[in-house]
């Protein structure tokens, strides 16, 4: 449950951050939510959240595009089909998101029960 909440939180915070800040602001979003909502699979949470965010955004832009620039860029790289470019986009975001979330989670020390 906490995992899903963490994914949604990273997704939402990164989305808002990217409206105002450069691309690497997604790392700050993932880091914060890795720390605050630490789950059992922090890397996966960051990876999935940012991967989904970037994939959906790229896919939406392409679905509504006036021209097939995505396909042309795919050929420049060259990866033949634009779906690979979208997946590469998602992966690049995801890997940064994953490590950022993990870093955040690692900063947090588990609360130990302290007895005096």
């Amino acid at each position: 449950m906490k995992f899903i909440l963490q994914v949604i939180a990273i997704f939402a915070l990164a989305y808002i951050a990217e409206l105002f800040l450069p691309w690497y602001s997604l790392a700050i979003a993932a880091f914060m939510m890795g720390y605050l909502l630490k789950s059992r699979a922090n890397f996966l949470a960051g990876f999935l959240a940012i991967g989904l965010l970037w994939f959906i955004k790229a896919w939406t832009i392409d679905a509504n595009a006036a021209t097939d620039l995505a396909q042309k860029v795919a050929l420049i790289f060259p990866v033949k089909e634009k779906i690979w470019l979208m997946l590469a986009t998602a992966f690049i975001g995801a890997i940064v998101g994953g490590f950022a979330a993990l870093t955040g989670a690692l900063l947090k020390t588990e609360k130990k029960k302290v007895y005096y």
Binding site: E18, L19, P22, W23, Y24, A27, F31, W54, K57, A58, I61, D62, N64, A65, A66, T67, L69, A70, Q71, K72, V73, L75, I76, L85, A88, T89, I92, G93, I95, V96, F99, A100, L102, T103, L106, L107, T109
Partner: protein
């Protein structure tokens, strides 16, 4: 002391688990930071520059944001500091802006802003190219071309042009306002809205300057009037002698209609000087010359008078042929302010409209071929080259150190010598390693000038006098200005700053030790080749020899056109009751006059009984061909393939010689084949036999049929839908015309299937062609115009308007241009209106 001890104790007491945690955190943090660094910077992988992947692929700011949505999006009502009043811009369905301003200053500021909105990257890269600064962006691959541009004095010329612009208050206002507009747009850019190519190459635009406007005009001059053959002609003179030079490279070929035929009508007293001797160089000139612009670059324009048209109104037509590229060379715009309402093609990077019409007149240009380049042999005092001989004195050279910044490398320093004449382009460090004498480059476009004033005035012209007055400001690159007015006048004027040349002056290398060998005077504007309302009812130009033999000035050039002009004049002579559609048809005319004149001669040399089956088939196709280079024509493919082999095979000895030489023209080659088939040049080098023109023709035929067969096989293997190699070889497919993106990126370029070729009115060769087609009917009830170009208004490959005019252009169709009187939407077409607002104080 105690504390220290405590601390030490504490650390020692730490559990290994915590060490591990700190280590894991740090490792993870470093990986994240490292990834961000790696993905936020560009890297060279296997020689190719990869864009910064994170920044480039980020769908919120990266290239995905350059993909425009289906519905046109234009920034709404931007506030632009520097505007004095509100400016209204109406974008029509082709994304052509119609700019309505309350004064000239706002008009040109808005033109700069709006043009940059669609073409900023192109504007900057073209001016960077002219300035020899592309290495800054793409690295060492551009060093050679950067050095070339600097050594040709492109910046030196642009600085002079800028001085001219700044002296005249009107042109100064134009470039300063335009610059302010471009910079207002640059200031509005964000990571998200940065044009695609900046993201791909990972750099940012720098501020625009008036010098960049000047560089852009010099770039055009380089394309159009830097051609010359002085070194080649001097070598030919030394190698073959005077008679052969006259035979191979006559100044005036016995062909065609000059632009202006006014025999014995030149009633002025020409400026005259004593002749200078034709000097034969002591040694051959051994220079690897920089590639000249394609000699098939040319243009058509004509105007027919009302007496020949269906409506009784004059019609002006123009189609400048240039290297076709993307983003498109031209940007169509309407500019409206008190005192001016003009529309037509503008050059991104320059204010005003270059080819177009107002509500009373229309004009277009073709390149006026004339030699405006001279090379002067320089005698240096010693190897230091600090001084050179000029008028009996050792005169100091000026050493300019060009610093070329190269991306990711150390700056390259190149020393260029400047003399009285201009820069020494080629020396022991550049393209002339084994040359003995060095030469200085004199080019008309290095002189101060004020071309923009011509366009300022043409954009406001009402009649023929206004046109003449406007043209008086125009120097380089010289153009044949066609003109017509709604009042009924038609006219043609070959306008430029032309030196008064003595016979043979400029055709060969000149002695650079005497200033009197340079240009002494210029042909006065009113003595330039021109006429108005000729009896034949039309005026036309297609880069041919400009004037009849009674014109009193010596004219020489690197080449003149021989075919398009005659075809245009034949059609116009025969036509009556001309409609706009007739003119569009003529602009797209694919009749190959060169083939009509040469193919029967070529075919007569073939012995049909001694051909292979493939050759026999080619022979039949050629015999049945109608001389029309239509898209689907097979005869055109065989003819052009034949010609493409025949021309170099004929002149193979010129290429085998190590010294710099040039080929005779197409027309002269065909003439010599017909008239002098035994000429020694027809002997193919490296064979024991002595060949004549007939042998060369037969050999070229056999080779060209092989070329076609090879093409068929390659094509069939590439295209799986065509497994039969016996399918016809269609001309459009064989020609495979290509409109390349300026970065030479294949996916951003376009292959198109069209007819035509160089030497044909529809002059669309593989890479060059009609870069703008315009037809204007000057009706008293209102000027009507049609036009389009092979591309689109937007330079953004992610825009619907990147190449939206291309299909219509390929099929010879036209768009009716919306010419508005006011910004109010009282027309049928769907438009978007944007207000540019001045900043409120």
């Amino acid at each position: 002391m105690l504390r220290k001890l405590e601390k030490g104790f504490y650390f020692q007491a730490l559990k290994p688990k915590l060490y591990m945690k700190v280590f894991k955190f740090l490792l993870c943090f470093l990986i994240t930071a490292g990834l961000i660094y790696l993905l936020d910077n560009s890297h060279i992988v296997k020689g190719n520059r990869l864009p910064p992947l994170g920044r480039f692929l980020d769908p919120f700011h990266g290239f995905w944001q350059n993909i425009e949505a289906k519905n046109d999006s234009i920034p709404e009502q931007p506030v632009i500091p520097g505007l004095t009043d509100k400016v209204t811009v109406v974008f029509d369905s082709l994304m052509i802006p119609h700019i309505f301003a309350e004064n000239d200053a706002d008009l040109y500021l808005a033109q700069g802003y709006i043009t940059a909105m669609h073409r900023l990257w192109q504007m900057e890269i073209q001016t960077h190219a002219a300035a020899g600064r592309v290495s800054e962006i793409v690295g060492e691959v551009a060093l050679e071309s950067d050095r070339s541009n600097r050594r040709q004095g492109m910046v030196y010329g642009a600085e002079k042009a800028l001085m001219g612009m700044m002296k005249n208050p009107t042109t100064r206002m134009m470039v300063e306002q335009y610059t302010e507009g471009v910079n207002a747009y640059i200031a509005s850019l964000t990571d998200k809205t940065l044009p695609f190519e900046y993201k791909l190459l990972d750099y940012k635009p720098e501020p625009w300057t008036p010098l960049k406007c000047a560089l852009l005009l010099k770039n055009m001059a380089k394309t159009l009037c830097m051609g010359d053959k002085d070194m080649e002609m001097s070598n030919a003179l030394k190698l073959y002698g005077k008679d052969v030079v006259e035979l191979l490279y006559p100044d005036r070929e016995p062909v065609g209609d000059p632009i202006v035929d006014n025999a014995n009508g030149w009633k002025f007293k020409p400026i005259a000087f004593d002749t200078i001797p034709r000097s034969v160089p002591e040694e051959y000139i051994n220079v690897k010359k920089l590639p000249a612009s394609d000699p098939t670059t040319g243009s058509n324009n004509w105007a027919v008078s009302g007496s020949k048209t269906a409506t009784g109104a004059p019609i002006v037509c123009g189609d400048p042929h240039l290297n076709l590229s993307l983003p498109s060379l031209w940007y169509v715009v309407q500019l409206h302010a008190p005192g001016t309402n003009a529309m037509g093609a503008s050059l991104p990077g320059s204010p005003a409209i270059i080819i177009g019409f107002t509500d009373s007149v229309a004009w277009s240009v073709t390149n006026a071929q004339r030699d405006l380049v001279d090379w002067f042999a320089i005698e240096f005092e010693n190897d230091k080259k600090d001084k050179y001989m000029l008028d009996g004195k050792w005169t100091e050279t000026k050493k300019v150190i060009e610093a070329i910044n190269i991306r990711d490398k150390e700056t390259f320093y190149d020393t260029v010598l400047y003399t009285h004449w201009g820069p020494v382009t080629y020396d022991e460090d550049f393209h002339a390693e084994n040359n003995l004498v060095q030469h200085a480059f004199r080019w008309m476009a290095h002189d101060e000038s004020e071309e923009l004033m011509t366009f300022y005035k043409l954009n406001r012209a009402k009649n023929h006098n206004d046109y003449l007055d406007a043209l008086n400001h125009f120097s380089t690159p010289p153009q044949n200005f066609v003109f017509a007015s709604a009042a009924g006048d038609i006219a043609m004027r070959v306008q430029g700053k032309f030196p008064v040349r003595r016979i043979y002056e400029g055709k060969f290398i000149l002695d650079g030790s005497k200033t009197t060998n340079g240009w002494q005077a210029y042909i006065p504007n009113d003595q330039n080749v021109q006429y108005k309302n000729p009896v034949r009812g039309f005026v036309s130009s297609a880069n041919q020899y400009p004037v009849d033999a009674t014109y009193p000035y010596y004219i020489t050039a690197s080449h003149f056109e021989a075919y398009r002009n005659r075809r245009i004049n034949t059609v116009l002579n025969e036509s009556k009751g001309i409609t706009v559609e007739d003119m569009m048809k003529l602009q797209n005319d694919n009749y190959n006059l060169k083939a009509a004149e040469s193919l029967p001669v070529f075919l007569s040399q073939l012995d049909s009984t001694r051909l292979t089956p493939k050759q026999a088939k080619a022979f039949e196709i050629l015999k049945a061909w109608n001389y029309i280079n239509d898209k689907d024509s097979e005869g055109a493919s065989y003819y052009e393939a034949w010609w493409d082999v025949l021309m170099p095979l004929t002149w193979d000895e010129l290429e085998k010689n190590k010294i710099t030489l040039s080929r005779p023209t197409t027309y002269n080659t065909i003439r010599l084949i017909r008239e002098k088939p035994d000429l020694t040049f027809f002997d193919i080098q490296g064979t024991p036999e002595k060949e004549t023109a007939g042998d060369v023709i037969r050999k070229a035929f056999a080779l060209s049929v092989n070329d076609i067969e090879t093409w068929k096989q390659e094509h069939a293997s590439k295209d799986t839908t065509r497994n039969n190699t016996d399918e016809p070889v269609k001309w459009s497919m064989y020609k495979d015309s290509y409109i390349g993106h300026l970065l030479r990126l294949e996916p951003l370029s376009a292959h198109v299937l069209t007819g035509g070729n160089h030497d044909i009115v529809n002059a669309h060769s593989k890479t060059h062609g009609p870069s703008w087609r315009m037809v204007v009917s000057l009706e008293k009830s209102g000027v009507k115009a049609w036009g389009l170009y092979p591309g689109g208004q937007s330079g953004n490959p992610g825009s619907a308007h990147y190449i939206d005019m291309l299909d219509a252009w390929c099929s010879g169709k036209y768009y009716s241009l919306l010419f508005l009187k006011s910004p109010e939407n009282n027309h049928a077409e769907k438009t978007i209106t944007v207000n540019l607002n001045p900043a409120t104080k």
